[in-house]
């Protein structure tokens, strides 16, 4: 919602930010943002963090041992004797 008259205080604006951001509302033209440099900077930072999170987190490879552990656990669930365990 964009208010032209009676702009919010910083406290009021920031208290409503979670809902406004969460609803996907564009805040660039919000009356408070238009005249408050501090809240404008806050909003820019929050948007930067969200944008960075979407783009910079790497996809990482699990260690090779993990598949061996999974396979071993699967064998135990099935009651399969593993090769080493079967050796006399």
């Amino acid at each position: 919602m964009i208010e032209e008259a009676n702009p919010m205080t910083c406290h009021e604006f920031q208290a409503q930010l979670p809902e406004m951001i969460g609803s996907g509302e564009s805040l660039a033209a919000h009356a408070h943002i238009q005249h408050c440099a501090l809240c404008r900077a806050l909003l820019a930072d929050l948007e930067t963090i969200a944008e960075a999170a979407r783009s910079i987190f790497p996809i990482v490879e699990p260690p090779d041992k993990l598949w061996k552990q999974i396979e071993s656990a699967l064998n135990k669930e099935k009651g399969v004797i593993e090769p080493d365990e079967g050796k006399v």
Binding site: L46, I59, E61, P62
Partner: protein, 211 residues
């Protein structure tokens, strides 16, 4: 291509299979659902990175991420025959992993979303606090390592919502359903997570500048 893991399931030895790399994911799924261990191993190969990365982000440390990834694929093995294709397999597996992480965290006694408490004592509790002192912008200056560190340092409830929404792309209503909280709480937690990250990221240059 790396050799396939040892075949230990008798069903997979019953008949020669076509090369696994020639199979579509749907065919691999069908084979795995029929008990073919090689096909299951191939599904692991295809999805391990995404699931492990998800677990790493959600729990914030390697040992637990390995445990959660292992549990996810064990559950997948138990439940694979229940997958009916209503959603994409990757999406289904992703949700399975999230549910396992959440269940494991609950088992450990972690109150995932003590949201009402958090709403009263957190960086957003006094909305104006500290914001006026900012003279640096994060725009264009976030570094990956710093953000990763800051995310891993988030309280668990904040981290879960941040990871699910900002990194994994879930909507608030989906997160609310997963975490058994209200949509408003999910929005609030996310906002507070971002505020906490902002505080952490802003504090880095000052800490480095003043040894």
């Amino acid at each position: 291509m790396a050799p396939y893991p040892p075949i230990t399931d008798s069903a997979s030895q019953a008949a020669p299979l076509p090369p696994l790399e020639a199979l579509s994911e749907a065919d691999l799924l069908a084979q795995a659902q029929a008990g073919d261990h090689r096909a299951f191993a191939q599904l692991y190969s295809l999805h391990k990175k995404r699931i492990y990365s998800l677990c790493m982000r959600m729990v914030g440390n390697v040992a637990e991420a390995e445990d959660m990834t292992q549990e996810t694929f064990l559950q997948l093995h138990r439940k694979i025959t229940t997958f009916r294709g209503e959603s994409a397999f990757a999406t289904w597996l992703h949700r399975l992993a999230i549910n396992i992480v959440l269940m494991q965290l609950r088992k450990k006694g972690l109150s995932l979303i003590s949201m009402d408490e958090a709403m009263e004592a957190d960086p957003g509790g006094n909305p104006g606090r500290g914001f006026g002192a900012r003279d640096l912008s994060l725009v264009g200056s976030i570094d990956r390592m710093a953000l990763e560190r800051a995310v891993s340092d988030l309280p668990a409830g904040y981290r879960l919502v941040f990871v699910l929404h900002d990194i994994e792309g879930y909507e608030h209503h989906e997160i609310a359903s997963m975490l058994d909280c209200s949509v408003g709480n999910s929005k609030s937690q996310l906002h507070k997570a971002r505020l906490t990250l902002r505080e952490a990221l802003h504090s880095l240059p000052r800490q480095e500048a003043r040894p």
